[in-house]
Symmetry: C2
Subunit: 219 residues, 2 copies
């Protein structure tokens, strides 16, 4: 936790805070586009359904403080949030598993706008190895470790079938990858030194189905 | 909470539990493919890094109990979890915003495997309205409300630009949509009777960047 004092703007923030910050950013960008100069935490609170004191607390992690009776400067919020969230930096990443979901992610231009630069895809299927999706080359997975080392890529996006999830993860870790963005529904294990972010969109589907069902039953 | 007694298998489960259930399912499916018949919560715990008592508690929501010294029957777990999570049912959905991310989701065959059947896409761009992606037709967004009513679609996937997120949401709600799967980074507001599931993949990216940064600084 030494970094907290040395690098206040890069402190280890609570995950719920980190997940709310992009909401604030999306909203203040809209305000900026409408040439609105100041916004209070109360106004943000009403719009986004987050407690005003929570918003103030979240923003204080970034050393942003509002002015009494005026609120936060919109342009400053846009700048500081964008910078803090890392969306302005370019993070090179490999995508492992260039099938349906992996291929779809390679085509999403939004990722690049948020600082993620997918430089290559990897797969085992003869039909796609050697081809490219959205201009991104697809290599055989046998060359993965070598290319991770050569290109110094630190982030891997995991979109392989469940049965290969852990094995591919182990290869990635051995090759020196520092962060794995896991799109598989499998709970992969990594050493404590490797960052994991789980985005199982199918798990979100399950939550939605359940909420829909219980709502209907309660009618 | 009346549904808890009346419909035990469709109780309103805590969201963390609902998000863990797909991990268990992914794992027991692998075991089933290897013809393993029984598994204990301790074994699942070791493999998935979830507390064994938590696993037992999560599964008890589904009325699944392990046998002493033998554990859970793998095939039963696969069946009950698949059924409970709604992955075997067919849920019709519209996708609103057939741009980069929306178009990518239309191509993901995984969604259909998990019970989500995207029947149409909607957009405003002349270049794509009237075309189709992965065999799914794309209509003009002006026809959205009418088609929601006609086809009785209850789920909408929101993948429009941030500046249109709330406006499109309001249209969807007015047209009678019961659940919105929000892929935009915008925090949309809906009446309490409408289910919201937020999957802002860019927010997950922000968490990953932050964790990577703090880990490097702590070295």
């Amino acid at each position: 936790m030494n970094s907290e004092t040395k690098y206040p703007a890069k402190a280890l923030l609570p995950e719920p805070t980190l997940r709310r910050l992009p909401w604030y950013l999306a909203y203040v960008k809209l305000l900026d586009a409408k040439h609105i100069e100041y916004i209070s935490s109360t106004q943000i609170s009403k719009k986004l359904n987050v407690d005003a004191s929570q918003i103030a607390k979240d923003l204080s992690f970034l050393n942003i403080k509002g002015k009494t009776r005026i609120g936060y400067e919109v342009r400053t919020l846009v700048k500081v949030l964008t910078d803090f969230l890392g969306f302005k930096h370019r993070h090179n990443a490999f995508i492992v598993g260039a099938g349906s979901l992996g291929g779809a992610l390679m085509q999403d231009v939004g990722l690049a706008q948020y600082g993620l630069n997918i430089v290559a895809g990897f797969d085992v299927k003869d039909a796609i190895v050697g081809s490219s999706i959205a201009g991104i080359p697809i290599y055989h997975i046998d060359t993965l470790a070598e290319r991770v080392r050569e290109q110094g890529v630190t982030i891997a996006i995991l979109a392989v079938p469940v049965e290969n999830a852990q094995e591919v993860t182990d290869h990635l870790v051995a090759a020196g990858v520092k962060a794995i963005w896991n799109f598989t529904p499998y709970r992969i294990k990594v050493p404590a030194s490797v960052v994991i972010q789980n985005t199982s969109i199918y798990a979100h589907l399950a939550v939605m189905y359940n909420r829909l069902d219980t709502m209907h039953h309660n009618k």
